[in-house]
Symmetry: C2
Subunit: 214 residues, 2 copies
């Protein structure tokens, strides 16, 4: 049965997978090796029926009456997400956010390796941040002609982001992780993930003003 | 009709509101003042029926045959989110991420004022970052006894986050915006918004491995 390749998995379900992964990792840390969808539901905050539905999309994994093997499910979700493979990444923009990302060791641990950083500001010239070299952004295009990069991480301002996305796309990256406050459009089979930190802050503001919905 | 106060609005709908806001702001910048749900749908990527449903939750706003007045809808969504009010915030953790947030001028423009930063690292002692003073984290509790703070922004490591959340909660904040890689639990009517940047990166990895779902 290979219906999975035909039916498109919804973005909502996909975005819940990292949360399953985090929750299962936490359970493994607490040495919980078996869990029912009911108990998982209490921890993760989705309904048990939602959990069964979500995981069924990818082929089930649970055994009736036994629940889920935490270790197995964790590994299968990592495989579904594609964690464990190595991704070569570069960061464009060596300001605070770029530096926060390059210093965040968890990304490296899960296979996302930062090969280089790029910035137009001469003050970063020749610097190494967390042992990653900062290169003049003028050489980004040339760099991509010689090095195969999977993911470009954009940490520049709004104004530069679209031009950089173009260079990254032409340079053959598979994905763009964009932190510039603009919705970059995906082009030529490049996956774009736009992160809007303000969305999360405004959601917090909403709940502060409507605590009854929380 | 004040049914709104009884029926809980779903988190999914609430999390779409900031995207409506962004999209409407972009339309205003492009001098588009009137839009149908069909045209809005093409730009925002939700179905027209979804848009009508979402906005109906808050009372409608559209006129049959005329669509939406962009300016009005923008202002109403800002009001629903609670943007426009002033929120006093503090940032705990003056590292790269804390600095990225204090330097992000858009938050200030929408009313989120950073009153102080806190860090245990003596290297930050006496520093001002974007004109915000960094205070020794030891004085956090005392500070909160004297200054009314709406939102505490946690940019520390995982290990310190829970203790800081406790101090913030006891210090009377209304909300916590947490960037430490741990799901902080909400307590005593404090709203907690956990940001997991890795969720977004793993979602990108998923789509790179399953482009057919994108």
């Amino acid at each position: 049965m290979n219906d999975k390749s035909i039916i498109k998995v919804s973005d909502t379900v996909i975005r819940r997978l990292p949360k399953y992964r985090r929750c299962l990792e936490e359970l493994l840390n607490r040495k919980v090796y078996q869990i029912s969808s009911q108990d998982l539901s209490k921890i993760i905050g989705f309904t048990a029926s939602q959990i069964r539905q979500d995981l069924n999309v990818f082929g089930g994994f649970g055994l009736k009456g036994f629940g889920y093997n935490v270790q197995d499910l964790y590994l299968q979700i990592e495989e579904i997400l594609g964690i464990g493979s190595v991704y070569n990444t570069i960061i464009i923009g060596a300001g605070n956010l770029g530096q926060a990302i390059v210093n965040y060791t968890n990304f490296c641990r899960t296979g996302f390796l930062v090969k280089a950083m790029f910035d137009i500001n001469p003050k970063f010239k020749g610097l190494r941040i967390n042992d990653v070299k900062v290169i003049d952004a003028e050489f980004l295009k040339e760099y991509l002609e010689h090095v195969s990069i999977d993911i470009g991480i954009i940490c520049t301002n709004k104004e530069s982001a679209q031009e950089i996305a173009k260079i990254l796309t032409e340079g053959g990256v598979k994905g763009i992780w964009n932190f510039a406050p603009v919705d970059l459009a995906a082009k030529e089979n490049v996956i774009v993930e736009n992160v809007h930190l303000s969305d999360s802050l405004y959601t917090l503001a909403y709940y502060i003003n409507h605590p009854q919905d929380y």
